[in-house]
């Protein structure tokens, strides 16, 4: 059997089964030494210190860990980091920064689309992906497309409002 490819080489340490892999995160190549068990979520937070992506349920049920892989939103808690060599990974940190926010981030701020804020980065990553998906224009369409992101504070009405305003603004621009 082959190794994982040119970029993935098992170390000779039998105690850990650690792998050196290179991940492309927010446009930058990052080399990390990780256990094969490590999820992309844990790798982003614990190794690369990109803590904008949040751990909620850790079982693909809440959406707090939503990131983009090759332009599509997925739950990073169910992705093994070492299996994503060569993929384009984008987190909330790659979307915008203070002073230069993504229009969706700005819309969440302007529409008070959060309370505690824990689910917010996942909500925004889903909302940005939704802009490229075949989502209808009604509020109900948005609710259906956003059903994979749970908000315990119940900020849903303003989340829908923020997404709709951002969509209209982006369509008009």
């Amino acid at each position: 059997m082959t190794d994982l490819g040119e970029n993935i080489v098992a170390t000779d340490d039998p105690g850990y089964g650690r792998l050196t892999v290179t991940l492309k995160v927010n446009g930058q190549e990052r080399e990390v030494l990780i256990d094969p068990r490590m999820t992309l979520l844990d790798c982003l937070r614990e190794v690369l210190r990109l803590i904008g992506t949040k751990k909620g349920c850790d079982h693909g049920q809440c959406g707090a860990c939503t990131i983009h892989i090759n332009g599509r939103r997925v739950n990073s808690c169910l992705a093994l980091a070492a299996a994503h060599v060569g993929d384009e990974i984008v987190t909330i940190e790659g979307l915008g920064v203070p002073g230069r926010l993504h229009p969706m981030q700005a819309a969440f701020l302007e529409n008070d689309a959060y309370q505690c804020g824990y689910c917010t980065s996942g909500q925004i990553m889903s909302a940005v992906a939704l802009l490229r998906e075949p989502c209808g224009m009604s509020d109900d369409d948005v609710r259906e497309f956003m059903s994979g992101n749970i908000c315990r504070c119940g900020a849903y009405p303003n989340i829908v409002k923020a997404i709709q305003r951002a969509r209209r603004a982006l369509r008009g621009s």
Binding site: M1, T2, D3, L4, G5, I8, A10, G17, L19, D35, P36, R37, T39, D58, H59, G60, G63, T66, R72, R73, V74, N75, L78, A79, L80, A82, A83, S126, A129, L130, E133, P134, R143, E144, F145, S147, G148, N149
Partner: protein, 332 residues
């Protein structure tokens, strides 16, 4: 999570050889293929799945969706559920399949989940997922606490004294009505298994869920080309409007000629230990004029032998109404 070696399969033949090193392709397999990971990684975290070797099959180029020369639809094993649901050929000619996929899970999960992974997804029975519980599917011979326990979501058809776990797939239910065939590359070569024969009933061995043997790699699924004028739909009844497993669901397909039913196929989800299709119930529809009575009669045949548990008896009447309502939607 138990430690494992992670390897990327460079080609199908190597993947098959890797898989063949396991003593089983069922519960307890020591080698697992990794596609979307939405079931496997979840269950590995819980300790329900404990492979020592995980073989990444995502770069094998098994993700194509196209119409074959014979008119059948080719669906690659690692085509993402989102891509399948939104594919123009599926939206156009296999409505029930598109609707079924979009009625399941969330966009994030559908973007990762694959065709073969969806077919092989495991039950959501809470006792199966909880290592502190007995479960004949996870630990054969340990018992089934669901039978006298929390079973509102569980099966009423295809059950045994050992297991009443529901098959959770929406996609597989719709594929049943399009006469899906599962294409497998194995140690001894290629073979094709109709989806109707792919799943096995729990019986005494609920840990065995399908016909796959060690090394078997699902490469693709084919669907027969729909008849001219065929209409189909998927109706899913559940506790929440979105992002919830079915209490009962029905995939239905029908063609009408001169006011009578020329052909009909239907399958049920949420109520069986596997997606449930009874061809005798379909034959009872042919030649009849569409009516509540005719559809309800077919439902009765399909539900023959249903065995309710303490909390899920409501599913029998719900299933009848689900079938009738789904057929009415495409015949009125």
């Amino acid at each position: 999570m138990q430690p494992f070696d992670l390897v990327r399969a460079p080609d199908q033949r190597t993947a098959v050889a890797e898989g063949a090193a396991s003593h089983t392709a069922q519960q307890g397999a020591s080698v697992r293929f990794l596609a979307g990971g939405t079931t496997l990684v979840d269950l590995m975290k819980l300790g329900v799945e404990r492979p020592g070797r995980v073989v990444d099959i995502n770069r094998l180029g098994l993700d194509d969706i196209h119409k074959q020369a014979n008119g059948d639809l080719f669906i690659g094993a690692t085509a993402r559920n989102s891509d399948l649901a939104h594919h123009p050929l599926v939206r156009g000619s296999y409505s029930a399949l598109s609707q079924a996929i979009l009625a399941g899970a969330s966009t994030q999960l559908r973007n990762a989940a694959t065709t073969a992974g969806n077919l092989l997804q495991r039950t959501r029975c809470m006792y199966f997922r909880d290592l502190a519980s007995a479960c004949n599917k996870r630990a054969p011979g340990s018992g089934c606490p669901a039978i006298a326990g929390t079973n509102r979501m569980l099966a009423i058809l295809g059950t045994s004294k050992a297991c009443i776990a529901t098959n959770p797939s929406d996609m597989a239910v719709a594929m049943m009505v399009y006469d899906a065939v599962v294409h497998i590359q194995g140690v001894a070569g290629d073979r094709q298994i109709p989806l109707m024969d792919f799943y096995v009933l729990p019986g005494e061995r609920p840990d065995i869920e399908n016909v796959l043997e060690p090394g078997d790699l699902v490469t693709h699924v084919t669907l027969s080309s729909p008849s001219t004028g065929e209409r189909s739909t998927y109706l899913k009844l559940r506790d929440r409007a979105s992002y919830e497993f079915a209490l009962v669901s029905a995939a239905v397909a029908i063609t009408l000629a001169n006011g009578a039913i020329a052909s009909a196929r239907f399958a049920l989800g949420g109520i069986g230990t596997r997606p449930w299709r009874v061809t005798e119930a379909e034959r009872a529809l042919v030649g009849q004029a569409p009516s509540d009575k005719v559809f309800r009669n077919a439902a009765e045949i399909c539900l023959r032998g249903a065995r309710p548990q303490g909390q899920n008896g409501f599913k029998i009447e719900l299933a009848r109404r689900c079938i009738v309502h789904a057929f009415k939607q495409i015949t009125q």
